[in-house]
């Protein structure tokens, strides 16, 4: 038996709590960074949340915060707080693999906007977290570097694709993490690890430097152990970026104030829509039981819960698995063994096209290959209208369903996932079984609307998440509801590792 690793007081704290101590000079940012680096060293052999730990960079960043404080410079609200970053974001000089062999050892020459904003706000980047290859998967089992294990039960998946980020929170290795959500890759790992995961409004956070999987869906977002911490991180990374042409040139909703308001536990006057199509079908009884208890709690806080219908949500999963692979087949064409990453078979006798095919065959894992071929099929002449074109029309109908539902309710609620964390190997034989993990999270991606997953109890000892969905650029609404639920239903503490 491995020795139990007790998290220290510092690693148990919230991000805002840590920032307060650092600002008051009661603890140095370097001490905070060291506590988390020690925790990673003590636990990550078992969890495998990190692909890369940047001890040197984290220590230097923390020392810079301490120096700024000593010099009397004003500190940002999260200065000195450690953060783990999903390995799909470009980090200058720090290896960025996207969980793929094709990018093994690649060191980006620039920072993603999200990462640049973290650094500018004095957050301390601990390292890069594990993920399904190119963010395609729901379990981290498709990482080329081996899966991450769920701190709640090391025999189970931590969700995906951003399983490393969420597991690092549940393992108290980091108080904050960054993820990217294309079909649920922040929310589903949040739900199954008992942590908070947020997909902001599409265009509310910048995609610059986020390695593209499905450009019309990919959304960077915050991961945390509390709603208030997620809101504080949201405020750091959100906002218009000229480097992303799909970035929305509008002010960011005040999510920090909304979370604080929600934490008072008052939801009087708030109308919540329970989405009929996202409750019941394919869901485990234990998940539905925890969800219903949370709905009762929301009602007791003063919210009015009404049932709404989104008749096309039943087609969201099929539409997504045409749109996302189509965009992926185009985006991943850039991995051709010329400008970065792997090159295989270039022995001087082979022509470019053959080297390219051998490189991609050697560098991509099975799920990425499946999606590239699926997308190639959906976009091919003769099939385009029936597959990709039809999926885009269904996307319009799903967005209209949201509009109609938001005319009846301020925010919508559902379970985040149909089932709790499953065991390794349970869903890899039939790839479509894996896709079902995203059944409830995908509609928000297709419509570009924001959604949050907040813990809502346990089923069979494993965490369950409740999803709150809001209209585009009304991210504050979902933070208020999630914080209110958290105030009466605190996230259960994960077992000791």
């Amino acid at each position: 038996m491995a020795e139990r690793a007790e998290p220290t007081e510092l690693t148990r704290m919230t991000a805002t709590g840590i920032a307060g101590l650092v600002a008051a000079g009661e603890v140095s940012a370097v001490e905070v960074a060291r506590a988390h680096l020690d925790r990673i060293a003590a636990t990550d052999q078992r969890v495998h949340a990190f692909l890369q730990v940047d001890t040197e960079g984290a220590t230097a960043a923390a020392a810079a915060v301490d120096a700024a404080r000593a010099a009397g410079a004003p500190l940002s609200p999260l200065a000195g707080v450690p953060v783990a970053v999903k390995d799909v974001f470009a980090t200058r000089g720090l290896p960025t693999t996207c969980g793929s062999k094709i990018l093994e050892g690649w060191r980006p020459p620039y920072d993603a906007t999200t990462v640049a904003r973290l650094r500018a706000a004095g957050l301390v980047v601990l390292g890069k977290t594990n993920m399904d290859e190119f963010a395609m998967g729901s379990s981290t089992e498709y990482s080329a570097y081996g899966p991450t294990r769920n701190p709640w039960d090391l025999a189970r998946i931590p969700g995906g694709s951003g399983g490393g980020s969420s597991a690092s929170l549940a393992a108290f290795q980091a108080p904050l993490a960054i993820g990217s959500d294309t079909g649920g890759s922040i929310r589903q790992p949040g739900a199954v690890t008992g942590t908070v995961g947020v997909k902001p409004t599409y265009g509310g956070t910048s995609r610059y430097g986020l390695v593209a999987f499905s450009s019309s869906l990919d959304t960077p977002g915050p991961c945390a152990r509390t709603v208030a911490d997620a809101a504080a991180l949201h405020a750091v990374i959100a906002g218009h970026d000229p480097g992303d042409s799909t970035s929305i040139p509008q002010p960011v909703p005040d999510v920090v104030a909304a979370a604080a308001r929600g934490a008072t536990g008052d939801l009087a006057g708030v109308r919540l829509g329970l989405v009929r199509e996202l409750a019941g079908e394919g869901a485990e009884p234990g998940v539905m039981a925890a969800f219903r208890e949370a709905v009762d709690a929301l009602t007791k806080l003063g919210a009015e819960v009404v049932e709404v219908s989104c008749p096309h949500f039943g087609y969201a999963l099929p539409a997504y698995y045409l749109i996302a692979p189509s965009e992926c087949s185009s985006n991943l064409a850039r991995f051709d063994g010329v400008r970065y990453g792997l090159r295989t078979g270039d022995d001087g006798t082979r022509a470019l096209e053959e080297v390219m095919s051998l490189t991609r065959e050697a560098g991509f894992g099975p799920e990425v290959k499946r999606r590239i071929m699926l997308g190639t099929y959906a976009l091919s002449s003769g099939y385009y209208d029936a597959y990709y074109g039809q999926a885009q029309k269904v996307r319009t109908l799903i967005a209209r369903d949201f509009t109609a539902a938001f005319a009846q309710a301020d925010a919508l609620i559902s379970p985040t996932t149909p089932f709790v964390a499953f065991r390794f190997g349970e869903r890899t034989a039939d790839p479509y079984q894996m896709y079902l993990a995203d059944l409830y999270t995908i509609p928000a991606n297709l419509a570009g609307t924001p959604a949050i997953s907040v813990p809502c109890g346990l089923s069979g000892g494993m965490p369950v998440g409740l999803q709150v969905m809001a209209p585009a650029m009304a991210d504050d609404r979902m933070y208020r509801v999630a914080a209110a639920l958290e105030s009466v239903l605190p996230a259960p503490a994960p077992p000791q590792l």
Binding site: Y321, E353, M356, P366, K369, A391, K393, T449
Partner: protein, 111 residues
């Protein structure tokens, strides 16, 4: 691969079609992979073909959730990536450029 237009997407996918897709996608898949992928893609395609059940004839397609068009930034010169840094991650370079394998195969090479 057959190329009839607007064929209802209910038919399965053959091993030969998967081989064709792999060529289009520049993936040198193995024979064993062809067997596995053909079966798996068949299952996935049958599941996603359900989009065809939706009556959406006159519905406009959505390619993007954010209705922004012609987004341009100010025409101001900014620092660009230095050449050496841009080349630093490349598998092979020559004289400050990316080196690529030859473009033409033996049959195509005019000599």
């Amino acid at each position: 691969m057959s190329h009839q237009t607007d064929r209802p997407p209910a038919a399965g996918i053959s091993r030969a079609e998967v081989a064709h897709l792999a060529r289009l996608a520049r993936l040198a898949v193995t024979e064993a992979e062809l067997d596995t992928f053909a079966g798996q893609l068949d299952v996935i395609l049958q599941a996603v073909a359900r989009v065809g059940e939706v009556a959406a004839g006159d519905i406009p397609p959505t390619s993007h959730a954010v209705p922004l068009t012609n987004v341009l930034r100010e025409d101001e010169p900014i620092q660009c990536l230095p050449r050496d840094e841009a080349l630093a991650g490349a598998p092979d370079t020559v004289e400050g450029r990316f080196r690529v394998p030859r473009i033409l195969s033996d049959e195509e090479d005019p000599g």
